[in-house]
Symmetry: C2
Subunit: 139 residues, 2 copies
C-alpha cells in the first residue's frame, strides 16, 4: 500500500479525506495494468478491505474520476471502465472484434484548439474513445 501514499496528501490538500476505501481502490487501480470495471475493482479491493460495499465502489470511482485521480471510459461493451490517470491518451476500438489501440493526445491538439476557438468551451483533453474497423475486420 505504500505505493499509493502520494495520494493521501493530494486528497487532503483539496479538502477530501484519505479514507481506507479510497486508498485500497487506488491501490487496486495502480496494480491493474489497464482498464477495470467496477466489479473487477470490487473483487480485488474487498480482499484488502473486507467490509467494502458496492455502492462505495461506484461512488468512489466516480469521485476519483471527477476529481481527476482516475480516468473513466466507455469501451463499447456497455460497461464503464476506470484506470489511474497517468499518461494522457485516448482509445481507438474495433466495433467488430473489439481490438483496441491507444492514441496519443498530440494528434488531437489541433482539433481541440480549433473547437475551443469556435465554441468558447475549454476542452479537457481526457480519454476519448473512437470507434471503427481494425485492419483485419475491413473485408
Amino acid at each position: 500500500m505504500s505505493c499509493v501514499n502520494e495520494f493521501a496528501p493530494q486528497l487532503r490538500a483539496r479538502g477530501f479525506r484519505a479514507t481506507p476505501q479510497r486508498m485500497v481502490i487506488l491501490h487496486v487501480l495502480r496494480h491493474a495494468g489497464g482498464h477495470l470495471t467496477p466489479s473487477q475493482v470490487f473483487e480485488q479491493a474487498r480482499i484488502d478491505l473486507p467490509g467494502l460495499t458496492e455502492p462505495t465502489i461506484y461512488r468512489t470511482l466516480e469521485f476519483l474520476a471527477t476529481s481527476g485521480f482516475v480516468l473513466a471510459a466507455h469501451v463499447g461493451n456497455g460497461k464503464m471502465v476506470y484506470e489511474l490517470a497517468e499518461a494522457q491518451h485516448h482509445h481507438l476500438i474495433c466495433r467488430h472484434c473489439g481490438a483496441s489501440t491507444e492514441i496519443e493526445h498530440a494528434p488531437l491538439e489541433t482539433l481541440y484548439h480549433q473547437l475551443e476557438v469556435t465554441t468558447g468551451y475549454r476542452l479537457d483533453s481526457s480519454h476519448v474513445t473512437l470507434f471503427g474497423l481494425c485492419p483485419a475486420c475491413q473485408s
Copy 2:
C-alpha cells in the same frame, strides 16, 4: 405513423423485420427533438403499443444503433441516449453545468484521416462526445 414508412422497406431489404415494436420506437425517436434515454422511449412507446416491454426497448435500441438507423451516445450523466440517425454531428458538453453544443463533423475530418493513416483502422465517424467547461463555467 406514416412518417416512419420509409424504414420498413429499408429493414426488409437488409433481412430484418419491420415489426410494430420497431416502427413505434422509430416513430417516438422521430418526434422527439433530441436525445432520449431508454426509459423515455419506453414511456412514450408503450402509449402507442401497450404490450411493449423494457427488454424489447433495450434490445431494439441496440439493434437500431448497430444497424445504423439510430445514433447512441453517452452524455455524461451515466445514461445512454438515442436519437434518429439523420445529420452527422458530435457533441461538446460542459462537465460543470451540463450545457451542450453540437459540433459539425467537418472539423474532425482531418483528425480522422490522419488516424486512419497511422493506425490502419477505418474510423466510422459517428456521434462523438467531448467534454470541457462552457464559457460561463470557466471562472
